[in-house]
Protein backbone atom coordinates (compact mmCIF):
# COMPACT_ATOMS: atom_id res chain seq x y z
CA UNK A 1 0.00 0.00 0.00
CA UNK A 2 1.32 3.41 -0.89
CA UNK A 3 1.15 6.42 1.39
CA UNK A 4 1.92 8.78 -1.44
CA UNK A 5 3.72 8.61 -4.76
CA UNK A 6 5.15 11.02 -7.28
CA UNK A 7 5.22 10.15 -10.98
CA UNK A 8 7.54 12.24 -13.12
CA UNK A 9 6.79 15.30 -11.00
CA UNK A 10 8.25 18.68 -11.91
CA UNK A 11 7.78 21.27 -9.15
CA UNK A 12 8.58 24.88 -9.89
CA UNK A 13 8.48 27.80 -7.44
CA UNK A 14 8.88 31.16 -9.10
CA UNK A 15 12.02 30.78 -11.19
CA UNK A 16 13.49 27.82 -9.35
CA UNK A 17 13.01 24.20 -10.29
CA UNK A 18 12.55 22.39 -6.98
CA UNK A 19 11.99 18.91 -8.35
CA UNK A 20 12.85 17.89 -11.90
CA UNK A 21 11.13 14.74 -13.18
CA UNK A 22 11.10 13.01 -9.80
CA UNK A 23 9.36 9.70 -9.22
CA UNK A 24 9.13 8.12 -5.79
CA UNK A 25 6.86 5.94 -3.72
CA UNK A 26 6.49 6.16 0.06
CA UNK A 27 5.04 3.00 1.56
CA UNK A 28 2.48 3.07 4.33
CA UNK A 29 3.61 2.73 7.96
CA UNK A 30 7.09 4.00 7.10
CA UNK A 31 9.16 6.50 9.06
CA UNK A 32 10.93 8.55 6.41
CA UNK A 33 13.46 11.25 7.16
CA UNK A 34 13.49 14.10 4.63
CA UNK A 35 16.89 15.72 4.37
CA UNK A 36 18.69 18.19 2.21
CA UNK A 37 20.27 21.62 2.27
CA UNK A 38 18.25 24.82 2.74
CA UNK A 39 16.13 25.49 -0.29
CA UNK A 40 16.33 21.89 -1.47
CA UNK A 41 12.57 21.61 -1.41
CA UNK A 42 11.72 19.81 1.83
CA UNK A 43 8.85 22.16 2.65
CA UNK A 44 7.78 22.40 -0.99
CA UNK A 45 7.55 18.64 -1.24
CA UNK A 46 5.25 18.56 1.77
CA UNK A 47 3.16 21.40 0.40
CA UNK A 48 2.81 19.47 -2.85
CA UNK A 49 1.54 16.42 -0.95
CA UNK A 50 -0.93 18.73 0.81
CA UNK A 51 -2.18 19.94 -2.53
CA UNK A 52 -1.00 23.52 -2.00
CA UNK A 53 1.45 23.47 -4.92
CA UNK A 54 0.47 22.01 -8.28
CA UNK A 55 3.18 20.12 -10.18
CA UNK A 56 3.99 21.54 -13.60
CA UNK A 57 4.09 18.06 -15.04
CA UNK A 58 3.54 14.62 -13.61
CA UNK A 59 1.05 13.45 -11.02
CA UNK A 60 0.88 12.93 -7.29
CA UNK A 61 -1.21 10.29 -5.59
CA UNK A 62 -1.93 10.49 -1.87
CA UNK A 63 -3.33 7.46 -0.04
CA UNK A 64 -4.56 5.96 -3.26
CA UNK A 65 -6.34 9.09 -4.50
CA UNK A 66 -5.18 11.95 -6.71
CA UNK A 67 -3.75 14.70 -4.52
CA UNK A 68 -6.31 17.20 -3.23
CA UNK A 69 -6.30 20.15 -0.89
CA UNK A 70 -7.89 19.59 2.48
CA UNK A 71 -7.47 15.83 2.66
CA UNK A 72 -8.53 14.97 6.23
CA UNK A 73 -6.34 11.89 6.30
CA UNK A 74 -3.16 13.97 6.00
CA UNK A 75 -1.85 15.63 9.15
CA UNK A 76 0.60 18.52 8.95
CA UNK A 77 2.90 20.15 11.47
CA UNK A 78 4.18 23.39 9.92
CA UNK A 79 7.46 25.01 10.92
CA UNK A 80 7.20 26.77 14.26
CA UNK A 81 6.28 30.47 14.13
CA UNK A 82 7.65 33.11 16.46
CA UNK A 83 4.22 34.72 16.87
CA UNK A 84 2.98 31.76 18.89
CA UNK A 85 5.13 32.85 21.79
CA UNK A 86 2.90 35.79 22.58
CA UNK A 87 -0.51 34.10 22.38
CA UNK A 88 -2.49 34.33 25.60
CA UNK A 89 -4.48 31.25 24.74
CA UNK A 90 -4.46 27.92 26.53
CA UNK A 91 -2.73 25.03 24.77
CA UNK A 92 -6.01 23.13 24.80
CA UNK A 93 -7.88 25.90 22.99
CA UNK A 94 -5.00 26.21 20.54
CA UNK A 95 -5.12 22.56 19.60
CA UNK A 96 -8.94 22.61 19.60
CA UNK A 97 -8.92 25.43 17.06
CA UNK A 98 -8.30 22.96 14.24
CA UNK A 99 -11.18 20.63 15.05
CA UNK A 100 -13.66 21.12 12.22
CA UNK A 101 -11.86 24.40 11.77
CA UNK A 102 -12.80 24.59 8.12
CA UNK A 103 -16.54 24.60 8.84
CA UNK A 104 -18.46 27.80 9.46
CA UNK A 105 -20.08 28.41 12.82
CA UNK A 106 -19.18 29.13 16.40
CA UNK A 107 -15.97 27.69 17.85
CA UNK A 108 -17.83 25.31 20.16
CA UNK A 109 -16.71 21.70 20.17
CA UNK A 110 -18.96 18.66 20.22
CA UNK A 111 -18.26 15.86 22.67
CA UNK A 112 -16.56 13.94 19.87
CA UNK A 113 -14.40 16.96 19.09
CA UNK A 114 -13.39 17.40 22.72
CA UNK A 115 -12.42 13.77 23.09
CA UNK A 116 -10.41 13.95 19.86
CA UNK A 117 -8.42 16.86 21.31
CA UNK A 118 -7.89 15.00 24.59
CA UNK A 119 -6.79 11.90 22.70
CA UNK A 120 -4.28 13.88 20.63
CA UNK A 121 -2.91 15.55 23.76
CA UNK A 122 -2.61 12.21 25.57
CA UNK A 123 -0.69 10.70 22.65
CA UNK A 124 2.05 13.31 23.08
CA UNK A 125 1.76 13.48 26.87
CA UNK A 126 0.71 17.12 26.89
CA UNK A 127 -2.62 17.01 28.74
CA UNK A 128 -1.38 18.94 31.78
CA UNK A 129 0.76 21.22 29.66
CA UNK A 130 -2.26 22.24 27.65
CA UNK A 131 -3.86 24.00 30.60
CA UNK A 132 -1.23 26.74 30.51
CA UNK A 133 -1.23 29.67 28.07
CA UNK A 134 1.06 29.31 25.05
CA UNK A 135 2.96 32.42 26.03
CA UNK A 136 4.15 30.73 29.22
CA UNK A 137 5.48 27.58 27.55
CA UNK A 138 9.00 26.79 26.43
CA UNK A 139 9.84 26.14 22.78
CA UNK A 140 9.95 22.39 23.29
CA UNK A 141 6.57 22.39 25.03
CA UNK A 142 5.04 24.37 22.19
CA UNK A 143 6.43 21.89 19.68
CA UNK A 144 4.67 19.15 21.58
CA UNK A 145 1.38 20.99 21.26
CA UNK A 146 1.98 21.49 17.54
CA UNK A 147 2.54 17.75 17.26
CA UNK A 148 -0.71 17.07 19.12
CA UNK A 149 -2.47 19.45 16.76
CA UNK A 150 -1.28 17.49 13.73
CA UNK A 151 -2.78 14.31 15.22
CA UNK A 152 -6.32 15.72 15.48
CA UNK A 153 -8.65 14.01 13.05
CA UNK A 154 -6.75 10.69 13.09
CA UNK A 155 -4.55 11.20 10.02
CA UNK A 156 -2.97 8.26 8.24
CA UNK A 157 -0.11 10.30 6.85
CA UNK A 158 1.79 12.77 9.03
CA UNK A 159 4.01 15.48 7.54
CA UNK A 160 6.32 17.07 10.12
CA UNK A 161 8.16 20.13 8.79
CA UNK A 162 11.43 20.63 10.66
CA UNK A 163 10.17 19.91 14.18
CA UNK A 164 13.71 20.10 15.59
CA UNK A 165 14.37 23.75 14.81
CA UNK A 166 15.65 25.72 17.81
CA UNK A 167 15.54 22.72 20.14
CA UNK A 168 18.55 21.66 22.15
CA UNK A 169 19.92 18.11 21.56
CA UNK A 170 18.12 16.59 24.54
CA UNK A 171 14.74 17.90 23.40
CA UNK A 172 15.52 16.93 19.83
CA UNK A 173 15.93 13.34 20.96
CA UNK A 174 12.61 13.48 22.83
CA UNK A 175 10.73 14.75 19.79
CA UNK A 176 12.22 12.13 17.45
CA UNK A 177 11.45 9.33 19.88
CA UNK A 178 7.91 10.63 20.33
CA UNK A 179 7.35 10.79 16.57
CA UNK A 180 8.70 7.25 16.15
CA UNK A 181 6.55 5.94 19.01
CA UNK A 182 3.48 7.50 17.41
CA UNK A 183 4.35 6.03 14.03
CA UNK A 184 4.64 2.54 15.48
CA UNK A 185 1.69 2.76 17.86
CA UNK A 186 -0.75 4.26 15.35
CA UNK A 187 0.63 2.42 12.34
CA UNK A 188 0.76 5.63 10.31
CA UNK A 189 3.27 6.98 7.81
CA UNK A 190 5.50 9.76 9.10
CA UNK A 191 7.60 12.16 7.05
CA UNK A 192 10.06 13.99 9.29
CA UNK A 193 12.17 16.71 7.72
CA UNK A 194 15.35 17.88 9.39
CA UNK A 195 18.72 19.44 8.73
CA UNK A 196 20.75 16.79 10.46
CA UNK A 197 20.71 13.06 10.00
CA UNK A 198 22.12 11.92 13.33
CA UNK A 199 19.13 12.68 15.59
CA UNK A 200 16.99 10.53 13.24
CA UNK A 201 19.37 7.61 12.76
CA UNK A 202 17.82 5.25 15.28
CA UNK A 203 14.25 5.75 14.07
CA UNK A 204 14.42 5.91 10.29
CA UNK A 205 13.11 3.27 7.96
CA UNK A 206 14.22 5.12 4.87
CA UNK A 207 15.77 8.44 3.91
CA UNK A 208 14.51 10.87 1.28
CA UNK A 209 17.40 13.13 0.35
CA UNK A 210 16.68 16.17 -1.82
CA UNK A 211 19.07 18.35 -3.74
CA UNK A 212 19.66 19.99 -7.12
CA UNK A 213 16.13 19.18 -8.25
CA UNK A 214 16.58 15.50 -7.59
CA UNK A 215 15.58 13.03 -4.91
CA UNK A 216 17.23 9.88 -3.60
CA UNK A 217 15.03 7.50 -1.64
CA UNK A 218 16.32 4.44 0.14
CA UNK A 219 17.82 3.09 3.36
CA UNK A 220 20.57 5.04 5.07
CA UNK A 221 23.18 2.66 3.67
CA UNK A 222 21.86 3.13 0.14
CA UNK A 223 21.48 6.90 0.14
CA UNK A 224 24.07 8.31 2.52
CA UNK A 225 27.05 7.47 0.36
CA UNK A 226 29.68 9.61 -1.31
CA UNK A 227 28.49 9.07 -4.89
CA UNK A 228 24.79 9.66 -4.20
CA UNK A 229 25.32 12.78 -2.10
CA UNK A 230 27.90 14.16 -4.54
CA UNK A 231 25.27 13.94 -7.23
CA UNK A 232 22.69 15.73 -5.05
CA UNK A 233 24.98 18.49 -3.82
CA UNK A 234 26.75 18.95 -7.12
CA UNK A 235 30.18 18.76 -5.51
CA UNK A 236 32.55 16.19 -4.04
CA UNK A 237 31.05 14.76 -0.82
CA UNK A 238 32.53 12.29 1.63
CA UNK A 239 30.67 10.18 4.19
CA UNK A 240 32.40 9.24 7.44
CA UNK A 241 30.98 6.79 9.99
CA UNK A 242 32.13 6.98 13.56
CA UNK A 243 30.60 5.36 16.65
CA UNK A 244 27.12 4.85 15.14
CA UNK A 245 27.14 8.41 13.88
CA UNK A 246 27.39 9.62 10.31
CA UNK A 247 29.19 12.74 9.21
CA UNK A 248 28.81 14.18 5.74
CA UNK A 249 31.84 16.17 4.72
CA UNK A 250 32.40 18.56 1.84
CA UNK A 251 36.14 19.12 1.79
CA UNK A 252 36.97 20.05 5.36
CA UNK A 253 33.52 21.42 6.28
CA UNK A 254 30.84 19.28 7.82
CA UNK A 255 27.54 19.42 5.99
CA UNK A 256 25.10 20.57 7.14
CA UNK A 257 26.71 23.10 9.46
CA UNK A 258 25.49 22.98 13.02
CA UNK A 259 22.09 24.63 13.14
CA UNK A 260 21.44 26.62 16.24
CA UNK A 261 18.36 28.71 16.95
CA UNK A 262 17.77 31.24 14.26
CA UNK A 263 19.26 29.18 11.43
Amino acid sequence: MSAFSFQNVRLVLGQRVILDDVSLDIRSSEFVGVLGPNGAGKTSLMRAVLGLIQPRTGSIQVLGQPVSRGNPAVGYMPQVRAALGSLRLSGWDFVAGVVSGHRLGLPILTKAGRSDVDRALDLVGARDLARRPLADLSGGERQRLLLAQSLVGRPRLLLLDEPLISLDPRHQQTVVELAKALQVELGITVLFSAHELNPLLGSLDRVLYLGAGQAALGTVDEVITGPVLSRLYGSEMEVIRLNDRIFVMSGSAEVPNCHHAGA
Partner: protein, 265 residues
Protein backbone atom coordinates in the same frame (compact mmCIF):
# COMPACT_ATOMS: atom_id res chain seq x y z
CA UNK B 1 -30.98 59.51 35.01
CA UNK B 2 -33.14 57.30 32.84
CA UNK B 3 -35.99 59.80 32.78
CA UNK B 4 -34.11 61.70 30.11
CA UNK B 5 -34.57 60.66 26.46
CA UNK B 6 -31.00 61.43 25.59
CA UNK B 7 -29.73 59.16 28.39
CA UNK B 8 -31.97 56.32 27.25
CA UNK B 9 -30.65 56.68 23.72
CA UNK B 10 -27.09 56.96 24.94
CA UNK B 11 -27.36 53.77 27.01
CA UNK B 12 -29.05 51.88 24.20
CA UNK B 13 -26.40 52.94 21.68
CA UNK B 14 -23.54 52.27 24.09
CA UNK B 15 -24.87 48.79 24.92
CA UNK B 16 -25.07 47.69 21.29
CA UNK B 17 -21.67 49.12 20.43
CA UNK B 18 -19.94 47.73 23.53
CA UNK B 19 -21.08 44.16 22.88
CA UNK B 20 -20.01 44.40 19.25
CA UNK B 21 -16.68 46.08 20.02
CA UNK B 22 -15.83 43.60 22.77
CA UNK B 23 -16.53 40.59 20.57
CA UNK B 24 -14.75 41.89 17.49
CA UNK B 25 -11.92 43.25 19.62
CA UNK B 26 -11.10 39.79 20.98
CA UNK B 27 -10.18 38.56 17.51
CA UNK B 28 -8.41 41.82 16.70
CA UNK B 29 -6.08 41.40 19.67
CA UNK B 30 -5.65 37.68 18.98
CA UNK B 31 -4.57 38.41 15.42
CA UNK B 32 -2.26 41.20 16.51
CA UNK B 33 -4.12 43.71 14.36
CA UNK B 34 -4.95 46.23 17.08
CA UNK B 35 -3.08 49.03 15.33
CA UNK B 36 -4.80 48.27 12.03
CA UNK B 37 -8.17 48.55 13.78
CA UNK B 38 -7.12 51.85 15.27
CA UNK B 39 -6.05 53.15 11.87
CA UNK B 40 -9.33 52.23 10.22
CA UNK B 41 -11.17 54.73 12.40
CA UNK B 42 -8.88 57.55 11.26
CA UNK B 43 -9.68 56.71 7.67
CA UNK B 44 -13.31 56.93 8.71
CA UNK B 45 -12.81 60.52 9.80
CA UNK B 46 -11.86 61.45 6.25
CA UNK B 47 -14.90 59.59 5.00
CA UNK B 48 -17.20 61.49 7.33
CA UNK B 49 -15.84 64.94 6.52
CA UNK B 50 -15.64 64.12 2.82
CA UNK B 51 -19.25 62.95 2.89
CA UNK B 52 -20.42 66.26 4.36
CA UNK B 53 -18.55 68.06 1.60
CA UNK B 54 -20.55 66.25 -1.08
CA UNK B 55 -23.82 66.47 0.84
CA UNK B 56 -24.09 62.94 2.22
CA UNK B 57 -24.78 62.12 5.87
CA UNK B 58 -21.44 61.79 7.69
CA UNK B 59 -22.29 58.38 9.20
CA UNK B 60 -22.49 56.80 5.77
CA UNK B 61 -19.25 58.46 4.70
CA UNK B 62 -17.67 57.00 7.81
CA UNK B 63 -19.07 53.55 7.16
CA UNK B 64 -18.31 53.56 3.45
CA UNK B 65 -14.72 54.71 3.78
CA UNK B 66 -13.78 52.38 6.64
CA UNK B 67 -15.39 49.45 4.83
CA UNK B 68 -13.44 50.19 1.64
CA UNK B 69 -10.21 50.61 3.60
CA UNK B 70 -10.83 47.40 5.57
CA UNK B 71 -11.41 45.36 2.43
CA UNK B 72 -8.30 46.76 0.77
CA UNK B 73 -6.18 46.02 3.83
CA UNK B 74 -7.54 42.49 3.97
CA UNK B 75 -6.87 41.99 0.30
CA UNK B 76 -3.29 43.26 0.48
CA UNK B 77 -2.58 40.56 3.01
CA UNK B 78 -0.82 40.26 6.30
CA UNK B 79 2.55 41.50 5.11
CA UNK B 80 1.31 44.95 4.16
CA UNK B 81 -1.49 45.22 6.67
CA UNK B 82 0.83 44.61 9.61
CA UNK B 83 3.60 47.01 8.66
CA UNK B 84 3.21 49.82 11.15
CA UNK B 85 4.96 52.39 8.99
CA UNK B 86 2.50 51.79 6.17
CA UNK B 87 -0.47 51.91 8.49
CA UNK B 88 0.78 55.04 10.25
CA UNK B 89 1.24 56.72 6.91
CA UNK B 90 -2.34 56.04 5.83
CA UNK B 91 -3.58 57.09 9.25
CA UNK B 92 -1.88 60.49 9.28
CA UNK B 93 -2.65 61.19 5.65
CA UNK B 94 -6.32 60.51 6.34
CA UNK B 95 -6.42 62.93 9.22
CA UNK B 96 -4.71 65.51 7.04
CA UNK B 97 -7.30 65.14 4.31
CA UNK B 98 -10.07 65.18 6.87
CA UNK B 99 -8.80 68.51 8.11
CA UNK B 100 -8.68 69.79 4.53
CA UNK B 101 -12.32 68.85 3.97
CA UNK B 102 -13.25 70.65 7.17
CA UNK B 103 -11.40 73.70 5.90
CA UNK B 104 -13.65 73.74 2.82
CA UNK B 105 -16.80 73.23 4.79
CA UNK B 106 -16.24 75.30 7.88
CA UNK B 107 -19.86 75.03 8.93
CA UNK B 108 -19.09 71.45 9.90
CA UNK B 109 -16.06 72.39 11.98
CA UNK B 110 -17.97 72.39 15.26
CA UNK B 111 -18.98 68.83 14.62
CA UNK B 112 -15.32 67.87 14.27
CA UNK B 113 -14.86 67.53 18.01
CA UNK B 114 -17.82 65.21 18.20
CA UNK B 115 -16.42 63.17 15.34
CA UNK B 116 -12.97 62.98 16.86
CA UNK B 117 -13.90 62.40 20.47
CA UNK B 118 -17.45 61.17 20.29
CA UNK B 119 -20.66 62.65 21.62
CA UNK B 120 -22.79 59.77 22.77
CA UNK B 121 -25.16 62.10 24.59
CA UNK B 122 -26.23 63.61 21.27
CA UNK B 123 -27.24 60.30 19.68
CA UNK B 124 -30.84 60.38 18.42
CA UNK B 125 -33.32 57.52 18.23
CA UNK B 126 -32.83 57.04 14.51
CA UNK B 127 -29.11 56.55 15.03
CA UNK B 128 -29.83 54.03 17.77
CA UNK B 129 -31.87 51.96 15.32
CA UNK B 130 -29.15 52.20 12.66
CA UNK B 131 -26.56 51.10 15.20
CA UNK B 132 -28.76 48.20 16.27
CA UNK B 133 -29.31 46.91 12.74
CA UNK B 134 -25.68 47.32 11.68
CA UNK B 135 -24.45 45.90 14.95
CA UNK B 136 -26.66 42.83 14.78
CA UNK B 137 -25.58 42.14 11.21
CA UNK B 138 -21.92 42.42 12.22
CA UNK B 139 -22.34 40.10 15.19
CA UNK B 140 -24.16 37.53 13.08
CA UNK B 141 -21.46 37.67 10.41
CA UNK B 142 -18.78 37.30 13.07
CA UNK B 143 -20.59 34.35 14.65
CA UNK B 144 -20.86 32.58 11.31
CA UNK B 145 -17.16 32.90 10.45
CA UNK B 146 -15.81 32.67 13.99
CA UNK B 147 -14.65 29.04 13.81
CA UNK B 148 -12.66 29.30 10.55
CA UNK B 149 -11.50 32.77 11.55
CA UNK B 150 -10.03 31.34 14.75
CA UNK B 151 -8.36 28.54 12.79
CA UNK B 152 -6.90 30.94 10.23
CA UNK B 153 -5.68 33.27 12.99
CA UNK B 154 -3.99 30.54 15.05
CA UNK B 155 -2.49 28.41 12.30
CA UNK B 156 -2.59 30.06 8.87
CA UNK B 157 -0.49 27.35 7.20
CA UNK B 158 -2.55 24.50 8.57
CA UNK B 159 -5.75 26.31 7.66
CA UNK B 160 -4.49 26.81 4.13
CA UNK B 161 -3.61 23.12 3.97
CA UNK B 162 -7.15 22.26 5.02
CA UNK B 163 -8.54 24.29 2.14
CA UNK B 164 -9.37 27.67 3.71
CA UNK B 165 -8.68 30.90 1.83
CA UNK B 166 -6.59 33.18 4.03
CA UNK B 167 -7.35 36.20 1.89
CA UNK B 168 -11.10 35.70 2.12
CA UNK B 169 -11.12 35.55 5.92
CA UNK B 170 -8.71 38.45 6.15
CA UNK B 171 -11.04 40.59 4.05
CA UNK B 172 -14.23 39.41 5.73
CA UNK B 173 -12.84 40.04 9.19
CA UNK B 174 -11.47 43.50 8.40
CA UNK B 175 -14.81 44.42 6.83
CA UNK B 176 -16.49 43.48 10.12
CA UNK B 177 -13.83 45.43 12.03
CA UNK B 178 -14.45 48.44 9.78
CA UNK B 179 -18.16 48.43 10.55
CA UNK B 180 -17.54 47.90 14.26
CA UNK B 181 -15.08 50.81 14.20
CA UNK B 182 -17.65 53.05 12.52
CA UNK B 183 -20.13 52.13 15.26
CA UNK B 184 -17.56 52.73 18.01
CA UNK B 185 -16.76 56.15 16.59
CA UNK B 186 -20.38 57.18 17.26
CA UNK B 187 -19.83 56.58 20.97
CA UNK B 188 -16.24 57.48 21.78
CA UNK B 189 -15.17 59.20 18.58
CA UNK B 190 -12.62 58.30 15.96
CA UNK B 191 -9.55 58.84 18.11
CA UNK B 192 -10.70 56.72 21.06
CA UNK B 193 -12.02 53.60 19.32
CA UNK B 194 -9.12 51.75 20.94
CA UNK B 195 -10.75 52.05 24.36
CA UNK B 196 -13.73 49.88 23.41
CA UNK B 197 -12.22 47.67 20.71
CA UNK B 198 -8.83 46.80 22.14
CA UNK B 199 -8.56 47.53 25.86
CA UNK B 200 -11.41 45.29 27.07
CA UNK B 201 -10.26 42.43 24.83
CA UNK B 202 -6.65 42.76 26.00
CA UNK B 203 -7.83 42.77 29.62
CA UNK B 204 -9.97 39.68 29.02
CA UNK B 205 -6.98 37.82 27.58
CA UNK B 206 -5.00 38.56 30.73
CA UNK B 207 -7.70 37.02 32.88
CA UNK B 208 -8.69 33.92 30.93
CA UNK B 209 -7.05 31.65 28.38
CA UNK B 210 -10.25 30.12 27.01
CA UNK B 211 -11.66 31.43 23.73
CA UNK B 212 -15.36 31.50 24.57
CA UNK B 213 -14.83 32.92 28.04
CA UNK B 214 -12.45 35.46 26.54
CA UNK B 215 -15.02 36.77 24.07
CA UNK B 216 -17.75 36.94 26.73
CA UNK B 217 -15.46 38.68 29.22
CA UNK B 218 -14.27 41.13 26.60
CA UNK B 219 -17.87 42.14 25.83
CA UNK B 220 -18.62 42.33 29.56
CA UNK B 221 -15.67 44.63 30.21
CA UNK B 222 -16.67 46.86 27.31
CA UNK B 223 -20.23 47.04 28.65
CA UNK B 224 -18.93 47.94 32.10
CA UNK B 225 -16.75 50.70 30.65
CA UNK B 226 -19.66 52.12 28.64
CA UNK B 227 -22.37 51.97 31.34
CA UNK B 228 -20.29 53.20 34.26
CA UNK B 229 -18.68 55.80 31.99
CA UNK B 230 -22.08 57.16 31.01
CA UNK B 231 -23.30 57.18 34.61
CA UNK B 232 -20.22 59.02 35.84
CA UNK B 233 -20.50 61.51 32.98
CA UNK B 234 -24.11 62.22 33.92
CA UNK B 235 -23.33 62.99 37.52
CA UNK B 236 -20.01 64.80 37.12
CA UNK B 237 -20.66 66.60 33.84
CA UNK B 238 -17.23 65.53 32.62
CA UNK B 239 -17.00 64.12 29.04
CA UNK B 240 -18.26 60.54 28.62
CA UNK B 241 -15.36 59.57 26.38
CA UNK B 242 -12.92 60.56 29.10
CA UNK B 243 -14.65 58.31 31.65
CA UNK B 244 -14.84 55.38 29.24
CA UNK B 245 -11.16 55.61 28.35
CA UNK B 246 -10.16 56.01 32.00
CA UNK B 247 -12.25 53.01 33.06
CA UNK B 248 -11.02 50.78 30.26
CA UNK B 249 -7.40 51.58 31.11
CA UNK B 250 -8.09 50.92 34.80
CA UNK B 251 -9.65 47.55 34.04
CA UNK B 252 -6.70 46.57 31.88
CA UNK B 253 -4.28 47.48 34.68
CA UNK B 254 -6.33 45.52 37.21
CA UNK B 255 -6.40 42.53 34.85
CA UNK B 256 -2.62 42.59 34.50
CA UNK B 257 -2.21 42.81 38.27
CA UNK B 258 -4.68 39.96 38.73
CA UNK B 259 -2.67 37.77 36.39
CA UNK B 260 0.63 38.58 38.11
CA UNK B 261 -0.85 37.95 41.54
CA UNK B 262 -2.54 34.67 40.62
CA UNK B 263 0.86 33.39 39.43
CA UNK B 264 2.09 33.43 43.01
CA UNK B 265 -0.70 31.20 44.29
Amino acid sequence: MFDYDFMQNAFAAATIVAILAGSVGYFLVLRGQAFAGHALSHVGFTGATGAVLIGVAPLWGLVGMTLAAGLIMGFLGERLAARDVGIGLVLSLSLGFGLLFLHFFTAYATQATALLFGNVLAVDLETVWTLLVLGTLCLLALAVISRPLLFVSLQPELAEAKGLSLRFYSMAFLAIVALATAECAQIVGVLLVFTLMVCPAAAAQQVTTSVLKGIALSAAFALFDAWIGLTLAFYTDWPTSFWISALSAAIYLLAVIYRRVSRFR
